[in-house]
Amino acid sequence: MLKILYFASLRETLGLGAESLDLPPGVADVGGLLNLLIARGGGWAKLGAVKNLRYAVNQEMARPESPLKAGDEVAFFPPVTGG
């Protein structure tokens, strides 16, 4: 099981802040998961169009090639704008 989080404009676009998902076969990294989500279509398709989409795995900044395993917490969000 993966815990997936969405923040800021992504959360608003998807109308969803968090979901749980069984790690699908063939999905080994963040990029693979992202492609799977985009393939859902509808609002999810927009994930592929977000400029400079950011990822975190287990609360550390990650990259498309960052590996995933069951139990991971994966977050998708736009570039940060705090401070």
Binding site: E12, N52, Q59, E60, F77, V80, T81, G82, G83
Partner: protein, 157 residues
């Protein structure tokens, strides 16, 4: 604790006093306060009536602690504090405080600016502004990315 995320406002004088407390080695304290402006760069001439700061609980604190640890590794400083507010904020309200103590001013200035630059690009906070034209998520600024990158270049050089 080196990093705090909170809804409540902070008292800069009291925070600096607490940070300095009991350390007679300190000769320099550099600090920075970020404030909600009533006009943002992208926003035409319309003022901001309020702002909401969202964050990623859990990751935020880790990210801030990591940035402070990095600053301590890079410069000879004694201590550093980051306080970042979240939730609803109005123009002129304080958003963030970074304060760094050390023996000499040069190290504290550099470390304080470094923490702010890294925070701007690596800590998971997102600003949403409400203006008379409606609400919108603030876009990341390229100047923030380049401000953070120059520390990378200096570090690797």
């Amino acid at each position: 604790m080196a990093a705090r995320v909170q809804e409540a406002d902070f008292d800069v004088g009291a925070e600096l006093a607490a940070l300095r407390q009991g350390d007679a080695r300190i000769g320099a304290i550099a600090s920075f306060v970020g404030v909600v402006r009533d006009i943002n760069d992208g926003a035409s001439v319309s003022g901001i009536s309020e702002m909401t700061l969202e964050h990623y609980p859990g990751m935020t604190e880790k990210a801030l602690e990591a940035i402070v640890a990095e600053a301590k590794a890079r410069w000879e400083i004694f201590d550093a504090l980051v306080i970042h507010r979240v939730g609803r904020l109005l123009p002129t309200e304080q958003i963030v405080l970074v304060a760094v103590t050390g023996a000499h001013r040069g190290e504290t200035f550099a470390a304080c600016e470094f923490v702010m630059d890294y925070l701007k690009t690596r800590a998971p906070f997102w600003k949403r502004e409400v203006t008379p034209d409606g609400a919108r998520w603030v876009d990341a600024r390229e100047t923030d990315e380049s401000a953070a990158e120059r520390w990378q270049a200096r570090w690797e050089a």
